[in-house]
């Protein structure tokens, strides 16, 4: 077993049991005590464990801190390749200098993640995950709306949110939804989310819905509008053909992702 793999395995075991002694580890991983000791030494340097006589104990404070940082940086969101593709297309649609809004939801987080790479950026957002990610771009103008924090998904809504947006105008708004369906149109799970939509529709020139393929043919609690509501829909290649046809015929631009890589085009690295 390589060292890296072994360290990962040891971490896994300690996370599981809370503490462990050297002998058990060496027999579990089938390596000598000496090797295990040097591994543990390294893990202690990383503050992952505290060594004790003949074994190691999980450093719980450290783990808590890590957890907290992860939450802030969106580590709680599961990595999703399909959403990443959507984010890439979305970032192509943003031109220099225009003001955009990034709404709630994990797909919007991926939009923000791609936008970080842009040179100039003016963003208004109610999505705290997005705000944190965007803060990595030091030159960007980021404004976070006020409002009531929705703990579950770290976004802002409520009366204060609505007040802040008075007399603000935006050129493009990127919004996520919970379901997209012929019958229900676009659906979200509660009233507070719908309030955000109603306001954003009012103040933005172009409404862009970002929804990965898993959202299609699904409905949630509240409808926020028919399928023809947005100007643009960004999704994945695998959405049912009937949606592609419907959007095209009804003048909603539909962008879908493909997986052609940069390296498969000659001369591009």
């Amino acid at each position: 077993m390589f060292k890296v793999a072994r360290l990962a395995k040891i971490k896994e075991i300690i996370l599981d049991r809370g503490q462990i002694d050297v002998n058990t580890l060496s027999s579990l991983l089938n390596v000598s005590d000496v090797t295990i000791r040097s591994d543990l030494e390294e893990l202690e340097k990383d503050k992952f464990i505290q060594r004790s006589h003949g074994g190691a104990v999980l450093n719980e404070d450290y783990i808590k801190q890590q957890d907290f940082q992860k939450t802030l940086l969106g580590g709680k969101l599961e990595y999703d390749k399909n959403k990443e593709y959507i984010g890439q297309i979305a970032s192509e649609l943003v031109s220099d200098g225009e003001w955009i809004f990034i709404g709630q939801g994990s797909t919007c987080y991926y939009v923000a993640k791609e936008l970080v790479k842009k040179e100039t950026l003016n963003v208004l957002t109610n999505n705290l995950y997005a705000a944190v990610v965007l803060s990595q771009n030091k030159k960007a103008n980021i404004i976070v709306t006020g409002g009531t924090l929705m703990n579950s998904d770290l976004f802002l809504s409520g009366d204060m949110f609505l007040k802040v947006l008075d007399s603000i105008f935006i050129s493009k708004a990127f919004m996520g939804v919970t379901g997209v369906d012929f019958k229900g149109g676009y659906t979200v799970s509660d009233y507070l989310e719908r309030n955000v939509y109603d306001k954003i529709k009012e103040i933005s020139k172009e409404l862009i819905i970002v929804a990965d393929a898993t959202k299609f043919d699904k409905t949630s609690f509240l409808s926020i509008g028919p399928l023809t509501m947005p100007d643009i829909v960004i999704t994945n290649e695998s959405v049912p053909k009937s949606y592609k046809e419907y959007f095209f015929n009804n003048g909603v631009k539909i962008f879908t992702s493909y997986k052609i890589t940069r390296s498969s085009i000659r001369g591009e690295i």
Binding site: E92, E237, S242, E245, K253, K259, G267
Partner: protein, 492 residues
């Protein structure tokens, strides 16, 4: 009015669930000239092919002199005096002019023997009428495209048509030649022949026809008597709603130059120059016979260039001129004939352009082939059985995608599409457009030839206008609309 010589009742035609014609009701009368007008893809050519029996109708009835008929082939309809002069040149290159013209309409002696003297006399008469001073014993292959077209027209005239159908006059004809054709149409009219001609040019329709049929999206939108015809109304009928904004157009930053073409000429082309950059979609608009396909052929190396230079920029940097155009992926208009190896599996069709990639010591590795072709097909959104799958079971959209996959597999950076969405349903079109988006996002350059003006308007950053083998204009993104392109080609 007398009974119509030809009447179509509720005729529909669809291909793989795409409606090419729906609910056509129309009648044609002897001694009457009808102009069939409409944008590209409106269904004009399909209508003609349905009448001539080249296509079988999916629904409806066709009556000839009041009796229902079923034409199984153009040969059937020819026996009723329905003659089509098509836009594509259908001549035998190795036969002489005379033979090409009288083929099928020979003057016979005792019903068997060719009376060459009489036949050739007739041929000469017709050519004289067409102001063509040609040696009728020359082989057709030496003629120009315009001459070939007129030879075809002469052949149609010699068959004594009762209904003469003329598909659009090819772009290469001069004004004088066009007028001559119309004069002959007038003469036929006085001989009680029913004439139907397709055109793009509203003025010509008004000038030479008695009735104008306006087609759009496979339907007859309007039937107008020429005396009441108004140019603007007809134009609006033809164009319909502008769908430019329906297209998923992604504008990406343009990168370095990929291709530079300087003053190329050959027998179809005259002094054409342009360049293509990474991230750009360059459209080429032209009518049939304008040289648009010839231009593509010259670019991709299928046709010789007598003058000028085609430079593939990446190779140019090394000071070497490209011998084979390994950077260019060409996706032909006739996908099935020029694109595929039907006897090979889907996977093999993908890898065929770059076998090096799947071989070791010059020996093909089938396992590797399957793995790699599966990977690239997956990237382009096709789920299929690479190894046992047969191309013929795939839809038009998926076939087009396989051609793209082949070129992606061999790392092309210039993608040349000739009519990329012809015969493909709407969802399939959306997919092709998004694949094009993906290609430019990843740094490719696109050349797109299409006779669908909405498609050009919807997708292109720039459109070059080709007329009679020369570049006659260039439109930028904001200027390209269905209407502006239509106007360029409908006005002289």
């Amino acid at each position: 009015m007398s009974t119509a010589i030809l009447r179509l009742e509720n005729v529909s035609k669809n291909f793989q669930n795409v409606d090419a014609l729906s609910d056509i009701n129309v009648e044609f009368h002897s001694g009457n000239v009808t102009a069939l007008i409409g944008g590209n893809g409106a269904g004009k050519s399909t209508l003609i092919k349905v009448i001539s029996g080249a296509f079988q109708i999916s629904q409806g009835k066709i009556y000839y002199n009041g009796e229902e008929v079923h034409f199984k082939s153009p040969y059937d309809s020819k026996n009723f005096g329905i003659i089509v002069c098509s836009q594509e040149i259908q001549l035998f290159n190795e036969l002489t002019i005379a033979e090409n013209i009288y083929l099928g309409n020979e003057t016979l002696e005792k019903d068997i023997f060719l009376n060459l003297k009489n036949t050739e006399k007739k041929v000469e008469e017709i050519l004289k009428k067409l102001n063509m001073d040609l040696d009728i014993h020359r082989k057709v292959k030496h003629l120009s495209l315009a001459e070939k077209f007129l030879i075809q027209f002469a052949r149609a005239l010699l068959s004594n048509p009762k209904i003469l159908i003329i598909d659009e006059l090819i772009d290469i004809l001069t004004q004088i030649e066009c007028n001559m054709v119309y004069e002959i149409i007038n003469e036929l009219k006085s001989k009680n022949v029913a004439v139907i001609f397709i055109t793009h040019k509203i003025e010509e329709a008004i000038k030479f026809a008695d009735n104008i049929l306006v087609m759009r999206e496979g339907r007859i939108i309007e039937t107008i008597e020429t005396k009441y015809a108004d140019k603007e109304t007809i134009k609006n009928d033809i164009l319909g709603q502008d769908l430019k904004e329906h297209f998923p157009k992604l504008t990406v930053k343009k990168g370095e130059e990929l291709l530079k073409i300087t003053n190329i000429s050959n027998r179809f082309l005259n002094n054409i120059s342009f360049s293509l950059r990474r991230g750009e979609i360059l459209g080429i608009a032209g009518l049939v016979g304008s040289g648009r396909t010839s231009l593509l052929k010259a670019i991709v190396g299928l046709d010789k260039v007598s003058n000028g230079e085609i430079m593939i920029s990446s190779e140019h940097k090394n000071g070497k001129k490209a011998k084979t155009h390994s950077n260019i992926g060409f996706m032909s208009e006739s996908r099935d004939i020029q694109g595929f190896f039907p006897s090979l599996s889907i996977g093999q069709n993908v890898t065929i352009r770059n076998l090096k990639k799947i071989s070791k010591y010059h020996i093909l590795n089938p396992k590797l082939e399957m793995m790699k072709s599966k990977d690239v097909l997956d990237r382009i959104g096709i789920k299929c059985d690479c190894y046992n799958g047969n191309i013929s079971f795939l839809s038009g959209g998926n076939r087009q995608k396989i051609l793209v996959a082949r070129n992606v597999f061999s790392k092309c950076n210039i993608y040349v599409f000739d009519e990329p969405t012809k015969g493909i349903d709407i969802a399939g079109k959306v997919e092709i457009y998004n694949i094009i988006n993906e290609l430019i996002r990843r740094g490719a350059g696109i050349i797109l030839v299409s006779s669908d003006f909405t498609e050009l308007a919807g997708m292109c950053d720039r459109v070059l206008v080709i007329k009679k083998g020369s570049m006659s204009g260039e439109l930028m993104r904001e200027e390209i609309t269905q209407a502006s392109l239509f106007t360029i080609f409908s006005d002289n």
